[in-house]
């Protein structure tokens, strides 16, 4: 996300507002207006999220809500030649018939009769046509309703998919960032020099690893840190695998570990490697064939007597965002350097966090 940033002494409010709005848009995803947001909030999406298919019972409900269409009985009349002179009283009918010639002397009623007859027919035809149109429109309404319903479902699904993709993108971004950090750490290579005991142990327990391992690097620069000395100084516990807990706490099995001296600079990275070994089928050094690297079995053996150390390492990992899915580093020397940089990270980050949350009150 683009950070809101003002670096110039000359403040431009419009520019700041543009930056802020861009940031808000980015945060919110889409630049909805308040009205749109309220409308969206008012829609119950669950109603549309029918996983059983596009056709839900909403259409049925719509049909039930709308009664079957029956064409209304529009008022009409029938008009024939004698309609004007009809009467239910026979004498009146007779008188009208008698006086008809006189009436025809005064005006000609035939065009009137003819026009009203045509009008009656037109009325009937129009009523039938309207009924047909209304029925068709209602059918179309149902189709439109179904179409809109389907569109809403598809749109909702797409929205959810976009949201999922955004989340995945964020996840991938964080992993990428982690890998970039790791790559930077690998730039300064530190050669890992194993102790004699560590060389013997994997050779006894996993001979095939030793067969694949390349010969130890004899040309290790003397000025570089050798963690082997620290490792060899650690006395073995009952199982021969115990590591020292940083604060001399009890192990997970309830056995009191003898309190050792202060934690060496390479212990944390070794715990890390062992944990990776357990999870990934072997430590990076073992995979890469370093002679002194502990094997996966060795790492598993250490777990029983080193629960506190492992939990601490996991805590460190959790703090860093987790790297369980990350591949093991390609070389032991690189791993050592990585461990150093990560331990530095763990020391630096809390201070960053406290900086962020500890802004001065100003009052």
């Amino acid at each position: 996300m683009a950070e809101f940033n003002v670096r110039s002494d000359s403040v431009n409010v419009e520019q700041i507002m543009e930056q802020l709005r861009a940031r808000i848009r980015e945060k919110r995803g889409v630049d909805y207006t308040e009205q749109q947001i309220r409308e969206l909030a008012a829609v119950k999406l669950e109603k549309f999220l029918d996983p059983r298919g596009i056709r839900s019972d909403l259409l049925e409900q719509f049909r039930k809500a709308q009664p079957v269409y029956e064409p209304p009985e529009l008022p009409n009349f029938a008009f024939e030649d004698a309609t004007l002179f009809e009467s239910h009283r026979a004498p009146i009918r007779w008188i009208r018939k008698l006086l008809l010639p006189i009436l025809k002397l005064l005006f000609n009623p035939n065009p009137l009769i003819q026009a009203l007859h045509i009008q009656a027919r037109l009325n009937t035809m129009n009523a039938e046509r309207e009924a047909r149109r209304e029925a068709t429109r209602r059918q179309l309404d149902q189709l439109y309703y179904e179409l809109i319903h389907n569109l809403v479902i598809e749109t909702t699904r797409l929205g959810i998919e976009v949201k999922n993709l955004n989340m995945r993108l964020e996840s991938v971004s964080s992993r990428l960032e982690f890998n970039e950090r790791r790559a930077r750490a690998l730039e300064s290579v530190v050669v890992y020099k194993p102790s004699g005991a560590e060389v013997e142990r994997p050779s006894r327990q996993q001979p095939h690893h030793q067969q694949q391992a390349p010969p130890p690097r004899a040309q290790t620069p003397p000025q570089q840190t050798s963690y082997a000395a620290v490792t060899s100084a650690t006395p073995p516990s009952e199982g021969g695998t115990a590591m020292t807990t940083p604060l001399g706490q009890a192990s997970a099995g309830g056995r009191q570990q003898p309190q050792q001296g202060a934690e060496g600079p390479g212990q944390r990275s070794r715990r890390r490697r062992r944990r990776r070994g357990r999870r990934g089928g072997g430590s990076a050094a073992g995979i890469m064939g370093a002679p002194g690297a502990p094997s996966a079995a060795d790492a598993a053996a250490t777990t029983a007597g080193d629960a506190v150390s492992v939990s601490e390492a996991e805590a460190i990992d959790d703090f860093e965002g987790g790297d369980e899915d990350q591949p093991a580093p390609p070389a032991p020397a690189a791993d050592a350097a990585d461990a150093r940089s990560e331990s530095a990270d763990t020391e630096q980050r809390p201070s960053t966090s406290s900086d962020r949350g500890g802004e001065p009150d100003g009052q």
Partner: protein
């Protein structure tokens, strides 16, 4: 030079924006001219009840002549006539009836102006929307200078005021946005006018710590000063601020100063202190991180100017063209259009102290350059000199006859208002279809 200041209410205890504006101007111009204030006996802008004695009394050394109001306002009649002229086709007679219902109807004041206008060089009429300004400016048209204090509400769309804007000798605007709006609605570009505004008597030595101790306020806070009212956008402010409070990273509290007509949300970080005197008010503003101005309608926010004078940034409602324009021109405040922007800008001001400090410094400079009292006084005196050199304008058109007054051919005032250009001055859009706030229709400015 003898100047009459004509205003609807006047007094030290009267704290309305235009009334305070008039008092400040009268007291400062009294150093350069002979000032007499002409006003009513009313102090309550809702009822216009006669609460002071008619006659002359000095207020802070300025003689004030009061006239009785003929009748109090009937809220039901006023509401009915407001609906008529704002929302329906109507006649000039309807608008004049509305003006009479709005008040303060004081024929005695108008008679006095008509008889004694010649005794004054100029008559300054404050607030175009009231009875005294409409009839008083007609009575003294050759000497009338209008200080409209116009806001962007439907009243500006009433047709009776358009000749008023065109017939006065000069217009003292509060902001470029107000000027643009009045020019657009009345076409009074030829009338001499200047954007002046008003200063404020901001103390030099504020004591924020004293305010905090007195009111037991701890931690950083944002402040709102003014009537806690729906018309001032306070309900929206409460909604937005409660949203902001949901973010655990935010540490600001909201302190409200002013009489409340709304229910204040109950939250430990929302404090309502009621009406405070000026010393407490300025101490509070000086101690605040920022001032929030949620109002939709302002002709010139004096509180915003006071905050700027004290070096505090302002967060204004972007829907109010004047406030937005002031923020942009001064580079001393941010603005918001919705809840997301409110929270974003509030967080930016809270977290980026450099930004808040820079905005505050700009505000202080803006106030000194534009709204310090020497600047304001100079602008008034220059306007008087300018008008003295120009020939007097023709008298205002006579009121329309009986038939013309009853011709129902005037558009609803809200339609006229909607057709006016919107936005800050210089960036105005022609008749933008800006959605009115929810309470706009019901808003009837007292």
């Amino acid at each position: 030079m003898k100047i009459a200041v004509v205003v609807q209410r006047y007094g030290q205890a009267v704290n309305g924006g235009a009334e305070l504006h008039a008092r400040y101007v009268a007291e400062h111009l009294a150093r350069h001219s002979q000032i007499e204030v002409l006003t009513t006996c009313a102090t309550d802008y809702v009822t216009w009840r006669n609460e002071r004695e008619a006659g002359v009394e000095p207020v802070n050394g300025v003689p004030v002549r009061r006239f009785r109001v003929k009748h109090e306002r009937d809220p039901r009649v006023f509401a009915k006539r407001s609906e008529r002229v704002f929302e329906q086709r109507h006649s000039i007679g309807d608008e004049l009836d509305w003006l009479d219902a709005e008040g303060p109807t004081s024929p005695a004041l108008i008679d006095y102006i008509a008889k004694h206008a010649a005794d004054f060089d100029y008559c300054l009429f404050f607030s175009y929307r009231y009875y005294h300004a409409y009839y008083g400016a007609r009575a003294a048209s050759g000497r009338a200078i209008l200080v409209p204090t116009a806001e962007r509400d439907a009243t500006i769309g009433l047709s009776i005021f358009q000749p008023l804007f065109r017939s006065v000798r000069g217009v003292m605007y509060n902001s470029p946005e107000e000027r643009a709006m009045i020019n657009a609605v009345s076409g009074n570009d030829a009338v001499p006018g200047v954007v002046v505004g008003v200063g404020s008597n901001v103390p030099n030595n504020t004591q924020p710590a004293r305010f905090r101790q007195k009111h037991n306020i701890r931690g950083p806070f944002a402040i709102y000063v003014g009537r806690v009212d729906r018309n001032k956008g306070c309900n929206e402010l409460f909604d937005y601020f409660q949203e902001y409070l949901k973010d655990p990273a935010g540490r600001l509290s909201l302190v409200l100063i002013g009489h409340s007509l709304l229910e204040i949300p109950r939250h430990p970080r929302i404090r309502h202190l009621g009406f405070l005197d000026d010393a407490d008010k300025f101490d509070a503003i000086a101690g605040a991180e920022l001032l929030i101005m949620p109002s939709y309608y302002e002709s010139l926010s004096m509180v915003a100017l006071e905050a700027w004078a004290l070096g505090r940034p302002v967060l204004a409602n972007g829907k109010c063209d004047v406030l937005k324009g002031q923020c942009i021109r001064s580079n001393a405040g941010l603005y918001y259009d919705d809840g997301g922007e409110f929270i974003g800008t509030l967080e930016a001001l809270e977290q980026n102290r450099w930004l808040a400090g820079s905005l505050g410094r700009n505000g202080r400079q803006f106030f000194r350059e534009q709204y310090d009292w020497p600047v304001i006084e100079r602008k008034y005196l220059e306007m008087f000199d300018r008008l003295k050199k120009e020939p007097p304008r023709l008298a205002a058109d006579p009121l329309p006859g009986w038939f013309d007054r009853r011709r129902q051919d005037l558009r609803p005032a809200e339609e006229v208002l909607a057709a006016l250009p919107t936005g800050p001055a210089g960036r105005q859009q022609p008749a933008a279809p800006k959605p009115a706030p929810a309470d706009a229709a019901g808003r009837r400015r007292a």
